[in-house]
């Protein structure tokens, strides 16, 4: 639960954005769209665990069943 996750997400985001631009300039737009989607999927994969931990913790903390 420390801040390196945020840096990883930011790094992936920046890399995906740069790759996007490079691929669009080179004319391969489908590949650009696919890399954007792939980056989003990878980051979502990290996030889902975090969000589920958050909601479980709040539930047990406030005894919401």
């Amino acid at each position: 639960m420390d801040i390196t996750v945020v840096f990883q997400i930011a790094a992936v985001g920046i890399l995906v954005a740069v790759l996007n631009q490079v691929l669009i300039r080179a004319g391969r737009e489908e590949l650009a769209m696919m890399t954007t989607l792939a980056g989003l999927v990878v980051v979502l994969f990290w996030i889902i665990q975090y969000i589920s931990t958050l909601f479980e913790t709040v539930q047990t903390l406030f005894q919401l069943s």
Partner: protein, 128 residues
């Protein structure tokens, strides 16, 4: 985690999210969510301590404990619904945000229904 760390994490997250907002707006929303979760997790032990103290005070007094439970649940529901609704409105989806708030309000009313019933019964018992 003290307040300085929390503030620093928040500012760093804000800067990163701002950098990414133009290129990759989905990623900036995700960074907002993650920073919020990290800060909440950091404050968690302190919240637990406060709740324990609340329980001790209430058990010393003569209020029925299930009322404190209802109050705690209402606080929890309102926190979650506010978290989700603010993330949505930050991302520009104001409609979804207001629907989440509305759902939270409905659930709070449902949970506090027994307390209301208890209050009305008590009043009716008082009247001859």
């Amino acid at each position: 985690m003290d307040i300085v760390q929390i503030a620093v994490i928040g500012i760093i997250g804000m800067i990163l999210s701002l950098i990414l907002k133009k290129e990759n707006s989905g990623m900036s929303v995700i960074i907002g969510i993650v920073v919020g979760i990290i800060i909440f997790m950091g404050v968690l032990p302190k919240i637990e301590a406060v709740i324990q103290m609340l329980y001790k005070i209430v058990s010393k007094s003569e209020v029925d404990i299930k009322y404190i439970d209802v109050i705690l649940k209402i606080i929890g529901i309102s926190y979650i619904s506010q978290f989700a609704s603010q993330v949505c409105s930050d991302a520009g989806e104001g409609a979804i945000a207001s629907k989440i708030e509305f759902a939270g309000k409905v659930i709070i009313i449902v949970i506090s229904a027994p307390v209301l019933m208890g209050l009305i019964e008590m009043i009716l018992n008082l009247m001859p």
